[in-house]
């Protein structure tokens, strides 16, 4: 982190504001992947307000840590974090998903400050991360590359090509974040294509793996710290079990799918429910 003022706000408060931003964007469109955004808000809070090095006023600063969103549909969550980080102005939130907006529903390269790649065609981000890590090492940069993946994305074989390569090249500047919410388009991820034992799989590919509760901020802080400070020439993965809809109790318990249904009159209720649980 380079902006000292960030540390005056608790990570829980950051996570709350990320959730709030996401819900407000969902309200604009009347739809969106708010379930996922609520689920990963704690991971993004720790990433953007504890771990990542960046300059809000200069998102392309060469010394920044790179954050690659390969799960393009999580863009609503990333925008919410980038707004909180001051990289995207808050008033742009109103344009989410509108024609000609800088905030398209699936994250696209070249459209949004702080969005590094086009995601959405799953299984591509980790390969790009490998190339960026190799490039950063050529430049003798000490920046990290983070890649946010999802459990469903692990179905894509290209992810494992990249995982094998990252270990082969001893990419200790690569930190993968896997959001395990056990939901994908056709149902529970474990039912669509079983992925356990996940930590053992990554370890077998030569990675340093940690599995944490992705909604436990102190656990996330410790895991990020370990990943960043590890003295082993290996890529690192944080496998984060998250709860879709986290922070809005009536969404946490709603029937889960790729989308969580939110009715038109529920957005305000969701914001109130979120506010009620604010811990800061």
């Amino acid at each position: 982190m380079t902006d000292a003022a960030r540390s005056n706000t608790s990570l829980a408060e950051r996570a709350y504001r990320i959730r709030r931003n996401a819900l407000r964007m969902g309200e604009v469109q009347g739809q969106g992947y708010v379930g996922q955004a609520l689920g990963v808000a704690d991971m993004l809070a720790v990433a953007y307000f504890h771990a990542l090095r960046y300059r809000a006023a200069d998102p392309a600063w060469d010394g920044r840590d790179r954050f690659l969103l390969s799960v393009g549909h999580y863009a609503i969550a990333l925008y919410a974090a980038l707004i909180e980080a001051g990289i995207i102005p808050e008033d742009e939130l109103e344009s989410y998903g509108s024609d000609d907006s800088r905030l398209p529903m699936s994250g696209m390269t070249g459209h949004t400050p702080g969005v590094e790649i086009s995601g959405g065609s799953l299984g591509q981000g980790l390969g790009v991360a490998v190339g960026m890590c190799l490039g950063l090492k050529r430049k003798a940069s000490d920046a990290f590359v983070y890649n946010l993946l999802s459990d469903g994305e692990l179905n894509e074989g290209s992810t494992w090509e990249a995982a094998m390569s990252a270990a082969h090249w001893r990419l200790d500047n690569l930190i993968a974040l896997v959001d395990v919410n056990n939901q994908q388009a056709d149902g529970a991820s474990s039912g669509v294509l079983g992925f356990e034992p996940l930590a053992a799989r990554w370890e077998a590919f030569g990675w340093h793996a940690q599995r944490v509760d992705g909604n436990d901020i102190p656990a996330l802080v410790a895991a990020f710290n370990t990943a960043r400070s590890l003295d082993e020439p290996k890529p690192r993965v944080l496998i984060c079990d998250t709860l879709m809809g986290r922070g809005v109790p009536f969404l946490e318990t709603r029937d889960k799918a790729h989308f969580i249904r939110v009715d038109a009159d529920e957005w305000t209720k969701a914001l109130h429910a979120l506010d009620a649980g604010r811990t800061a």
């Binding site: 390269t109 299984g123 390969g127 790009v128 490039g135």
Partner: protein, 342 residues
């Protein structure tokens, strides 16, 4: 029915014909006695990389078969062996380009066009990154059958926004194209001729310019528009046709996208000439259809014919056999042109 023939009455075996065997991946297109130079792409890239420190080379277990090993030997620390993983190859090349490097990524054309297409599309082309994709075995340059014959690579990449496509003819073209595509600020797909590559175009006061076609010889009866090694064949065909008093012009169009529309229209609009496009590619979606649509859009309507590979999965075997069978050998070009002019 099998009738038993006494041994003594059996006819003597016919004199043995030279048996043509399956053309390997290292098959050269050079005719016997033709001037060649080895590995022109690898040497051109190594030469360019001496002063262009941002150039890096990546391959998917095909360095030796795409001549990238020459670069790898010259600059081992700038060479990245990505393993037999073309999707990773293209994604990682995109990542290197994002960090300011100029990646040359090599594999076979089939694997780039078919397996890695989505990765090239989303991570290289959409981002308009300067990744140079250089691929061996374009069209019908391998006898291994459809798994290795990229008969539709141009069709696939022509549909991709931002992608520049180059189909060089010989050593002269490759040596000119390597620095030219390096200077182009966006992505490029270049078809590669590897190994012992013919030297042809030095006899024609020719030099490669990205986006430009060049009239190599003029003639009043037929205009052959061609790319890749088919230009070499077209030039040979033009010489052969002269013996039959057929006067053939050859317009070499090594940049498939963007086409040199002005040059093609200027030549195709000249009255009284049959226009033939000759390409080492399926008749669907390649140079032939690109030229045809240009002519239609522009209201230029000569008699138009295509020489190219049929819309089929092709056979395995020896390249001379296959090139004859599918109509892209020099003699097949000559025969088709004569038939169309008869």
């Amino acid at each position: 029915m099998n009738e038993t023939v006494p041994l003594t009455e059996r006819p003597a075996p016919a004199p043995a014909k030279p048996r043509l065997t399956t053309s390997a991946m290292i098959a050269s297109l050079a005719a016997e006695g033709q001037r060649t130079r080895p590995a022109p792409f690898g040497h051109a890239l190594a030469k360019l990389a001496q002063n262009r420190l941002e150039i890096v080379g990546l391959t998917a277990d095909l360095a030796k078969y795409t001549d990238l090993h020459i670069f790898a030997q010259a600059f081992p620390d700038r060479f990245y062996q990505m393993g037999m993983a073309e999707q990773l190859l293209m994604s990682a090349a995109a990542g290197m380009a994002r960090e300011g490097f100029l990646p040359f990524a090599t594999t076979y054309a089939v694997f780039a066009a078919r397996r890695a297409y989505d990765f090239i599309c989303m991570q290289i082309a959409e981002a308009n990154l300067p990744v140079k994709i250089v691929c061996g075995l374009p069209g019908l340059t391998s006898g291994y059958g459809p798994s290795h014959q990229a008969t539709e690579d141009l069709a696939i990449f022509r549909g991709l926004p931002n992608m520049v496509i180059v189909d060089p003819c010989d050593v002269v073209d490759i040596e000119g194209a390597v620095p030219a595509i390096a200077d182009h600020p966006g992505p490029v797909y270049m078809r590669l001729l590897r190994g012992s590559v013919p030297v042809v175009l030095d006899e024609y006061e020719y030099r490669f310019v990205l986006g430009r076609a060049a009239l190599l010889c003029d003639g009043a009866d037929v205009l052959i528009i061609s790319s890749g090694f088919m230009t070499m064949r077209a030039l040979e065909a033009a010489k052969a046709l002269r013996a039959d008093r057929i006067d053939a012009a050859v317009l070499h169009s090594p940049t498939i996208k963007p086409l040199d529309e002005a040059a093609i229209l200027r030549e195709a609009a000249r009255p009284g000439r049959l226009v033939v496009v000759a390409e080492n590619h399926s008749v669907i979606g390649g140079l032939g259809e690109a030229v045809a649509s240009l002519l239609m859009r522009s209201g230029v309507h000569p008699v138009f014919r295509q020489i190219g590979l049929p819309d089929e999965f092709l056979a395995a075997g020896a390249l001379p056999t296959l090139h004859d069978r599918y109509g892209i050998s020099t003699s097949a070009i000559v025969a088709q042109v004569k038939e169309w002019l008869a």
